[in-house]
Amino acid sequence: MPAMTMVQALNSAMDVMLARDPNVVIFGEDVGFYGGVFRVTEGLQKKHGEQRVFDAPIAEGGMLAVAVGMGAYGLRPIVEIQFADYIYPATDQLVSEAARLRYRSGGEFWSPLTVRAPCGGGIFGGQTHSQSVEAVFTHVCGLKTVIPSNPYDAKGLLISAIEDDDPVVFFEPKRLYNGPFDGHPERPAVPWTQHPQSEVPEGYYNVPLGRAAVVREGTAATVLAYGTMVHVARAAAEESGIDAEIIDLRTLLPLDLDTIVASVKKTGRCVIAHEATRTCGFGAELAALVQEHCFYHLEAPIVRVTGWDTPYPHALEWEYFPGPKRVADGLRRVMET
């Protein structure tokens, strides 16, 4: 099996689906001739043609609206939002239309579309190229939300998202596109090739939506993470020496609660880590669920290690980013009692 970066794995997922299903089309800003500012659609227009992979006007809301109409016809559009920070103009079409269509039409119409958007910080992109906006969408009934943490999952989950008959918002941690990142910017960047999950089959396969993965077994405490924070959590476990069990949620909605509950009941302690701002972030929902379902097993308050409730500051990127030290501190805090 070839080693792929996350960019290559995502590209391969779309390549495979374009070949398998004539109803799959891809559009977005700069995705056609150029292949996307992160190169995720590179070569797809050349291979599959302009009719299937094409540039769109700079209008995120327009793209989503058009995708809803295409979905009603029977296509499976994949829309790339150049940065998750720019998804807001598409909010109405996503929330009021794509997410509600099946329900309001009594099941007559639906939106089998996939919205891809790079998310998260770590590239000095400042507040408009670094946001993690998943919680805006996990609050919306009718949308599924996915965030992969490695190339193998990225391809398998994206294929599942494309094949899914409900709208899926698929966030891609841009800091992981070309290599894993454990939250130590001072260390030399490592390529995906050295990571086991960069082994990606060239052909079709999928990773089902709604299933988390235990990426590190442990007994001391449970860490709930997704995207970049999965790698940061690993580093935190190693560096703190605390035997944490790390769960990569992979799909935020529908959530794999059973895996979470089983782990927390085992460890009795829980740290939740995400890059998004804290208040009303997805960690709030996780904390609410964990205390509801594991109340009698919890030995310490659940700790949230998150981005601060401020915009993502440009120069103070690493003071904002919830790195291994902060996750380790969180682990220590839950171990205190």
Binding site: V66, M70, L75, E97, R102, F109
Partner: protein, 423 residues
């Protein structure tokens, strides 16, 4: 170079004496005032030329400031736009408009009687939904607003089904989930109506792009109210239709009012809504929306243009919202009571009926007879519909259906919530 420098000499010279003033469009004629029809374009029937369907869009742009009319005040059909429809089609059109009005009358009363929560009439605008339905193919996909019920009726969709939706009763295919009048019928190629203004307009463009991508022959049509053209969706529809030459008809129904705000507030003071097409290189037509023949002809022109891959047409349908905005509205708070009665472009049903009479294919008696016939039909259908329940004595769907169709398969958290509700 210091900042002071940068003030240009010319600026100082050109400086005006008077300060700036903010223009707030004055409210249109209000209650108690005389109706003001100065915005109503005066064009004689037959006065506007009909370009070939294949002309460059630019050659249609002068039409943005004209008004296509076929029926004159005496009911004669004249000019290049006369679609010369056969009697059967004309009578079908008249019937559908009258049925639409009869349906609206009853459902409005049903709301007043508390049997449904809400209703919206299209009184005075029947020629739009009906005329356009006749000009489109039955499988052309339509993305309407809440005011094109005439289209569904003209497509022969059962009134019973529509009524059941309004009653949210046991036969409502939308399972009581939607506000009355937000119909959906895949079978009738009628897209689920949204309560959010404008969203359907660019969706129609997307559907049309998909149809073109597939080498299909079906086109799409979208409708939007003049007030809603201020929404982003309008801009997106025009942009994407222009860039990808989508086979779509983009209809702006200018019925003068957006609840209480007149079309000036939507940007109708400085330009017509048809003129919005000019900046995108789209074809445009402006039509007397109370003239079924003109509506038919314009729609047929745009449909043929789209089907021949010449791209999208923006049609402004100039009409008047004779009814209150909805059952929640009281127009007497913001417009003259007689504004509608004196509407210079008349009533679409009377005008078509006059035309048929003039052709010798209709009469006052037949009109009266058909009217009571349709009233009976609506009453009968209404009784049947009520027998399946009304919103008042509902709900008629079990609470468990509330958790269905959020997703294709109901995920665990919704199943748990259903259990929590104990259903």
């Amino acid at each position: 170079m210091d900042r002071a420098d940068s003030a240009s000499a010319d600026f100082k010279a050109g400086a005006p004496q008077a300060p700036l003033t903010l223009h707030i469009p004055p409210h249109h004629a209000g209650p108690g005032e005389r109706p003001d029809y100065k915005d109503v374009p005066r064009f004689a029937a037959g006065a506007v030329a009909r370009p070939d369907i294949a002309v460059p869009a630019q050659e249609t742009h002068s039409l943005a400031y004209q008004l296509i009319r076929v029926l004159d005040d005496d009911g004669a059909a004249t000019g290049e736009w006369n679609p010369t429809l056969d009697t059967a089609t004309l009578q079908r059109g008249l019937r559908a408009m009258m049925l639409t009005r009869a349906y609206d009358e009853r459902m409005f009363r049903q709301q007043r009687q508390g049997k449904i929560s809400f209703y919206m009439k299209c009184t005075g605008e029947e020629a739009i939904g009906v005329g356009q339905a006749l000009a489109l193919a039955p499988d052309d996909m339509v993305f309407t607003t809440y005011r094109q019920q005439g289209l569904l009726i003209a497509r022969g969709w059962p009134l019973l089904d529509m009524m059941c939706q309004c009653y949210s009763n046991s036969q409502d295919r939308m399972k009581g989930r939607q506000l009355p009048v937000l119909y959906s019928s895949k079978e009738a190629s009628f897209f689920s109506i949204s309560g959010n203004l404008g969203t359907q307009f660019p969706q129609a463009v997307g559907w049309a792009m998909a149809s073109a991508y597939k080498g299909d022959r079906r086109i799409a049509a979208g409708w939007i109210g003049e007030g809603s053209t201020a929404e982003p969706d309008f801009h997106h529809a025009l942009t994407f239709a222009s860039v990808y030459r989508a086979p779509v008809i983009l209809n702006v129904v200018n019925n003068q009012w957006a609840i209480s705000s007149h079309q000036e507030i939507a940007g109708g003071e400085a330009a017509t809504f048809a003129a919005r097409a000019i900046g995108f290189g789209l074809a445009c037509l402006r039509v007397d929306g109370n003239d079924l023949l003109a509506v038919y002809a314009a729609t047929q022109w745009a449909a043929e243009r789209a089907r021949h891959n010449h791209g999208a047409t923006l049609i402004e349908l100039f009409t008047y919202r004779a009814a209150p905005h909805s059952t929640s509205d009281d127009p007497n708070r913001y417009r003259p009571e007689d504004e509608g009665k004196e509407w210079p472009l008349g009533d679409p049903i009377e005008r078509l009926s006059r035309h048929l009479i003039r052709l010798g294919e209709w009469s006052g008696e037949r009109q009266a007879q058909l009217e009571s016939e349709l009233a009976d039909q609506v009453r009968e259908t209404g009784r049947t519909a009520e027998s399946y329940g009304t919103q008042e004595n509902g709900p008629h769907f079990s609470a468990k259906t509330m958790f269905e169709d959020v997703f294709k398969e109901t995920p665990w958290h919704l199943r748990r919530q259903r259990q929590e509700l104990g259903v």
